[in-house]
Each structure stands twice: as C-alpha cells, then as structure tokens.
Symmetry: C2
Subunit: 267 residues, 2 copies
C-alpha cells in the first residue's frame, strides 16, 4: 500500500534541455506533480508530461509574499502531495544546492519523514564557462573558484575583502545577482587594489540572445552601465588571464562572434 509519495528535488541546469542530466529527465517524466520556478525555460517545460499536474511556485509580481512565506507554501504543498502518494518533481534552475534553497526543502522533508532524493544540475557558472570558454580554474593561472551572491538575503553587499582576497590569490570569482551592484563592487575593489581585473559579464547563457562583455573590470562596468544586459547574468573576475595570455589576446578565445559585444574591442 502506497501511503507516501516521493519528492525529487531536481536541478534543471541553465535552460537548454540537452543540459539536463539523464536522471533529471527521468524524474521529470515520471512525475505526477511538477512544482517549478520562474526561471525554468520553455524548452524544459515542454518535457513536462501531459498527465502531470504542473504548479508554478515561483515569484509572481504583486502576490505580496515574502521569500519565507513563499518557501513555506512550497514545503506544505510538497507534503500534501507526498501524503497523497504522488511522485512530486520539484524543478529548479541550475543546481538545487547552489543559491536555490534546495537544502531548506531537504531539511523540511527530512523533518517530516517524507522520502526524497536530490538530483544535481549544471550550475549557471559551469554552463557559462563551457559556452564561452571561460576557465574556472587552470593549472597556471587560477587555483581556486569562488562563488558569491551580489547581495545576501538581508540585502548586504558581497563581502568585498573576501572577494578581493579571492581574486588576488589567483582565484576565479563568480558573482550571481551582481549586475545591480556592479558599480558599487567596482568602486570598492578599486579602493582596495589597483591592477587589471579581467572580467566577463555573461547574460542569458544558453539562450539565443546570450551576450558576453569582456575586458578590464572598470571598462566592463562602464559598458554595462550604458548598455544594460538582460537577466539572468553572471560576473566572472580574475587577475590572471588564461594560461598567461596577454590582455590583448584575452577576449573571446572561443569564437562566439554571433554573441559577442566586446566592451574593449576598439582599444
């Protein structure tokens, strides 16, 4: 007798359905109920089985809910459906354990003795790195990788000292949700430290209208200020160009001219 269902907390990756894992795809196909977020692409949604109940649980403008209320509603919905014996596939963009509240859902389910499984997904930074050939580590240039959020949940700016240390010590820094605060970040980083910070801003990775802006942090910030990029966007920074290439060869070592709008191309 099937008393309780099962929840799959699934990372759907950056949007391209070919970047789903085989396991994520299976979890989607066997769902009785799908709970999905605002960032899930049309391409992924087309894979949702016809028989499944599809429930949008993302942010909806004007719903008056704060992030904790919305999250609690998702928890209760998962519980309700699981107690009906249904297979619930919770579809999140990227990886469920990176800036995605998958861990909160896991803790809730565990606390309520509801069987669940977490299926990892391709994070935005991995997808961006592959699409535009931006290394996240390399043997000669970058020994560590640091993933930040432009602001934390309380609205506090990313820790500039920590960001600066990461970059200065040969790390690659990736900033999620950083575009709105890029001017503030740039100002504070310049105050701490001069020198060239090689920067890429990638917008809408994996979509037809993906763009990349590359160059010195200061130039890129100026460019982005004057030419707003579409969301979602990631910022990637480091002090060393790939495998010691001089700055003038840094831009676009993978040819993506159909995407590229290079901030520094005329310099």
């Amino acid at each position: 007798m099937k008393l309780k269902g099962k929840i799959y907390i699934v990372g759907a990756g950056p949007g391209d359905s070919d970047l789903l894992t085989i396991k994520a795809h299976k979890a989607i196909l066997q769902a009785d109920v799908i709970l999905y977020d605002a960032l899930i692409s049309e391409e992924i949604k087309e894979l949702f089985p016809e028989k499944a109940e599809k429930i949008f649980v993302g942010k909806r403008a004007g719903d008056g809910l704060d992030i904790t209320e919305r999250q609690n509603r998702i928890h209760l919905l998962m519980k309700k459906k699981a107690l009906q014996g249904l297979v619930v596939t919770r579809v999140k963009s990227g990886d469920p354990m990176v800036f995605s509240r998958g861990a909160e859902e896991a803790v809730f389910l565990k606390g309520n003795n509801i069987p669940f499984e977490i299926v990892p997904g391709i994070s935005a930074f991995n997808a961006v790195s592959a699409e535009f050939g931006i290394p996240l580590t390399d043997r000669h240039g970058s020994n560590s990788l640091h993933i930040f959020s432009g602001r934390d949940v309380s609205g506090k700016l990313v820790n500039i000292k920590q960001l600066s240390d990461a970059i200065e010590n040969n790390g690659t820094a990736v900033i999620y949700m950083g575009i709105r605060v890029i001017e503030e970040i740039t100002q504070k980083l310049q105050a701490l430290k001069g020198g060239i910070i090689y920067t890429s801003v990638v917008s809408k990775s994996g979509h037809k209208d993906a763009t990349i802006v590359e160059g010195n942090l200061v130039d890129v910030t100026e460019y982005v200020k004057n030419n707003p990029v579409k969301m979602p966007a990631l910022i990637i920074m480091r002090m060393h160009s790939l495998t010691g290439e001089p700055r003038e060869n840094y831009n676009r070592y993978i040819d993506k001219s159909e995407y590229a709008m290079i901030a520094t191309e005329t310099r």
Copy 2:
C-alpha cells in the same frame, strides 16, 4: 568535403551514467575516437560506442611522463584525429573547466583552428552535495562557495589565510585532493582560529562503496588518519551548520545509513 573533424570536450560528471547530461551522452554516442582519463567509471565506459577507437590518455604508473608532457601528447592526438576528419570526444570526469585542464585543451584547439565545443558536467562537489544532502549555500547559513585544491601544481599547500577567510565569512569551502594534506590544513587552521568547523569528508561519491565522515574538523581529521578513506575524496567545511541546526543534529540530515561511518556518532 570534410577536412577537419570536431572535438567535444565533455564533462562526464562523477561516474554515475545517469548523471551525464543528455548532450554529453550524445557526444559520446557520435564519437569516432574517444580519449578518456583514469577516473572515468566502468559505467560510463560501457556507453562508448563499439565502432569508436578508445584511447586511454590518463596517468599510467611508470610511464615517466610529467603532467605537461602528458597534456601535450593529448593535444597532438586531438589535432591528428581532427585533421583526419574524425569526431573526437574527449571524456573527462566532473566538469571540464574545474580542475581538469579543459581550458588548456580549448586554448590549444582554438590556436590550431580546430572546431570544438565544451560540454559542461556535474562537478564532484555538486554530486556530493546532492547525494549526502550537504548544502553548498543556504539562505541563513552560507552565502558563498569556495573550491580549493589541497596543493597547487607546484606542490604548494592551499592558501590557509584564504581558506580561513572563506569559512569565517559564512562561506562553504570544498577542498579537492585534500586528504593527503588534511592534517597540515587542520593544524594551520587551528592556529589561525579556534571554534567548530563543521566538516564532511566524502569518499567515492556515486559509487556503491561511498562513505561520509562528518563532525568537527579536528575529530574528522583524527578519524581519517586512523581510518584511511578511498580516493577520490572531497572535504567540505564551514562554520555554520545548515539553517542553524545545533551541532548534535548536524550529522546526516539525509539518511544514508548504508554509507555512513560517522566520526562523532558516539559523542
């Protein structure tokens, strides 16, 4: 007329073939030539098409090659096969752009005008996080994620100041290739800073004989010293337990008792 082939630099993820992306799977199935590393699992190798030439290009004990020589051989092999008009799928474990020299291969191919595409993969840290429910970020506890290597290419120990800063500022730190230096890291971290560092050591994630050791850094280090773990293994550290759980509830919030050997279970 087909003069040049194409290279797919593919991340195969942690070993479970269900954690391949659909795109990686396709790239494997259409290969004329497969170049694969030592860490590629039997499960993934079984997917290699019969007609493909399969070439092991990983480290072989006693071959007398250093890392640069071996890497150069791979580059020349890719070039040779591509010039024969073949589709070459270069299969790497994890993600090709994270501690995997995928970027070096991309630079070489770009420099030689050989068409290529990078296919991202599930990194070990994402897989470990999903399998054992270890959050990489969470809204209340951890605002950033930091990926280190226990030693760099020149043999230098991970930057302890940077590691310490990452953890102290609510970050989650992941250390690849850290088991051999865990005692040194622990000693130096203790000198910098007291307090509890919540630590998980996960060995052979995704395999039947996966294990996890969790507890305070000092206890885990002691345990691992007396009970050697199998490679590959990852270390994950942070100062805050998930969503404020007290330390005694920290261990195994996902039930994986068939895997777990908990260092602190009797405390």
